[in-house]
Symmetry: C2
Subunit: 591 residues, 2 copies
Amino acid sequence: MSEGSRECWKQCCRTTAKRLPVLGWLPKYSLRWLQLDLVAGLTVGLTVVPQALAYAEVAGLPMQYGLYSSFMGCFIYCLLGTSKDVTLGPTAIMSLLVSSYAFHEPALAVLLTFLSGCIQLVMGLLQLGFILDFISHPVIKGFTSAAAVTIGFNQVKTLLGLHNIPQQFVLQVYYTFCRINETRAGDAILGVSCLTVLMVLQQMKKGIPRTHLLEVLPVRISRHIIWITATARNALVVLFAGLVAYAFQMTGSQPFSLTGTIPQGLPPLQPPPFSIIVSNHTLYFGEMVQAIGPGLAVVPLMGLLETVAIAKAFASQNNYQIDPNQELLAMGFTNLLGSFVSSYPVTGSFGRTAVNAQTGVCTPAGGLITGALVLLSLAYLTSLFYYIPKAALAAVIICAVAPMFDARIFRTLWQVKRLDLVPLCVTFFLCFWEVQYGIIAGVMVSGILLLYPVARPRIKVVMDEAIVIKPENGLQFPAIEFLRNIVHKQALSEPQQRSVILDCSHISSIDYTVVLGLSELLQEFQHQELRFIFTGLQAHVLEVLLAADLEGFRNFSTLNDAEKGLGELHIAIGGMLGDNSSVLTTTGIIQ
Amino acid sequence: MSEGSRECWKQCCRTTAKRLPVLGWLPKYSLRWLQLDLVAGLTVGLTVVPQALAYAEVAGLPMQYGLYSSFMGCFIYCLLGTSKDVTLGPTAIMSLLVSSYAFHEPALAVLLTFLSGCIQLVMGLLQLGFILDFISHPVIKGFTSAAAVTIGFNQVKTLLGLHNIPQQFVLQVYYTFCRINETRAGDAILGVSCLTVLMVLQQMKKGIPRTHLLEVLPVRISRHIIWITATARNALVVLFAGLVAYAFQMTGSQPFSLTGTIPQGLPPLQPPPFSIIVSNHTLYFGEMVQAIGPGLAVVPLMGLLETVAIAKAFASQNNYQIDPNQELLAMGFTNLLGSFVSSYPVTGSFGRTAVNAQTGVCTPAGGLITGALVLLSLAYLTSLFYYIPKAALAAVIICAVAPMFDARIFRTLWQVKRLDLVPLCVTFFLCFWEVQYGIIAGVMVSGILLLYPVARPRIKVVMDEAIVIKPENGLQFPAIEFLRNIVHKQALSEPQQRSVILDCSHISSIDYTVVLGLSELLQEFQHQELRFIFTGLQAHVLEVLLAADLEGFRNFSTLNDAEKGLGELHIAIGGMLGDNSSVLTTTGIIQ
């Protein structure tokens, strides 16, 4: 093999290893790892099944779609993921987004999955992961807190067994309180009990101290049982509620709203739908895309945001590095392939990732067990899901989203940096209207805060016979009107109009809007028969100005030259017009 | 009167004069001005009547709404406007926006007018006119060019008499070409003839040389006739087409699609509708606002953008200054009061403002004549509008929007500043999908271009026993991940892990996202039992970091102190751990 081809081969290997992180850990895989991954995979599996059913309800889709969405991520992430802890699958926030962009129509949700997958893949290949840098922490917090409130409150109606409550948040709050007296006793009692049990178990889990080797076996075993109970609490509560409902069903009365029939079996393997028939009218691809609209931007981006935020949190805790672009590829493939098994868009789940990490997962292989468990449930258990009371699932969701609401952030920001409360509050409140407006407005507000110094740069004005105006840190388009106003005020307003020298020595780049503004200034000065000249232009700024071919453009390399040149120009004009009053004494200017 | 109350009175007068620009010009009003304003007002009136009918069609509203929208602006702007040339009224772009946010429902359009008016008033009072600074020229050009194409092409189907063409642009192009063989001969012939006549007259007007006093009277008179014909071309063409249609109607056959019945009389004076009944279902205020959605942000902002852009262009040409916030107030009042006479949102019209300026208007009083002419048409002429062929109105619109499409901007930007082609193209192409996405995406892209130096600041790394990392122009949230990656690469990755000194002497402000990133870095260093210390903190940056109460935060005022301190810390840790390999020789660091 020649040197060149060996080099090429090495390069190839490196790229493959980078793109397939599984190649990094698989060769080192051990029996000990297998053991821990097995336990973690099972535990996550017991969490994901009830959550998947509940989140499908949030997304406004038939319950089986939750399960359809829960296994592909486990398998793909095992091959492509850079974090050992992250588990991809349906999440509360993504379900909320799906409910607002897919209009409770499974075909739209699956198409959204497919398109989101494609967009994420393209973003990953173009290395666009850096976009996340522009979403500041207050915006993320505002969004997640608002989502927690929306999703949590959305479940209150199910918890109380209320019907005919509108979707829109404000109306929902209003009507939920209006109809509170229509509460169904059975649902409410069961729901509140489940909620209480879940909260107690959650608190217990936090309170368990670490096992010490010195303790006697019974203590260690009982502690282990509590730990398992607390960790698998979702599955246990749902199971128990289902048993109660089943018992009532046997006695002939049913005080609970039940999940109802879920089609048994694995999802069909088929391409995503590119046209659907809605009430005798065929919607084609174009119209479906039109219907999804901004979802095509919001879903892929929020998916990335959630996954990367979670992956980074656990990477920092467990001391490894992740690569946002590789995460994009993993998630893109998951969504792309998921759309062939009727999945709705998935992303990293904070709750289940935490369970995974706490159970001590060693590699992404744990996901294989989780995925298998979901497939088994789909194949054999769906008939049992009939008896799951909806109120119990509502309790599961409320407990899952409650920690996402971070009330302390308001206090923290008040103490640390009050200005950051603005993007936080804008995002938080607008997210109740519509999620995408909240996020866009938040990003824009934090962008404006960043850009304030760009829009209102320091500009030094030196009054002399001519006025020397010097922007001190660059001149970009948001500042051009500001500069024009200063020039107008200082040089063009009555009573004394004067020529201007623009000292550009601190301008390192210039855009077309600025060029245009300067050209308009030049024209105004020509109208008034005054001069507007440039000095200290850096080479590539000068290039841009010359390319724009401005009328009456004059530049001098130094301020002294400019002042001298200005004097000569004035004499020339003065002579030409025969009007000596506008002639300046050159000596006075050059000093 | 005391000195204080006199001062207060003066201040009051100044504010009133600033808020009511009419007080500035009315006392100086002369007969000569009246004469010129009269001619200009009449000419603009002859342009606005046919345009108003045509734009109502673009907005998807009954034709009379165009006229209802055309007079309030004339009266209000006369009192509150800062530019003598600007005329407010229905415009092509605003009509396009209304058609996408009001869903062809007049009640929604009128409510949108009312709410836009309120928003513009509030923006004006809060002095938010500066927001315009963040919309760069390429974004504006991309938007107006795309709007010209959309609106122009939208009229092709009317020009050809085609039916059942969908609204969405891509589908519209597709179906227009598919059904080109269904063209109605009468409409097509009339439409193309009108278009040709309008274009010829437009060209003639450009070609008329200035009148010289030396020329003989007949030459001057004939030149004047040509000028009037060319200026009132819209009204003449529509009038002529109407006569032709009327003649055909008399003979019993009708080859043209006609405007049809327009209700006679002035619009009712009533508050805007806060609930409507659509197909037996009552829509309340909340749902109407929900339906309008992003229109509530886009319409007021685009209205402002259009008016200010036009006002600035003519202010610079005719040498006066305008105030964006006062324009906001004028437009806000116009829309607010307009909603009481069933107006849809209005803004400054480029075409009519140009006509106004060219006819030599002296004060905004010309608007009074225009407004009166519109009211007269509404009161007495609507029955005549029955015979106006739609194809003729389509020709009027195509001629009005054609100059808005600026193909040269692509070439200019290619020559002057290629990077600016990115926001231009993003805006241009996305505007065909939906206007608001185009503008938002364009603003975001130009924002990202502006923020690139903020997100990837120069960071100096000095390798020593410890690593000194120094951001050279600030550290704001988009840069924190970048900084963390550099720190990871330089200090935390194998084989040699080292402590870091962060030299903050060039950081003049810090936000919460940065604080959080630094706190995570601190934790990671503590995990590795390494140090991460700060130096050169400016007072208010230090204040923020202290308020955040970071775990393990250490700071030293100078780099020397930091290096000395770092050595001592290491010795302390080394001693504590009994591990001499991590002890650094202090002398080596202090140098």
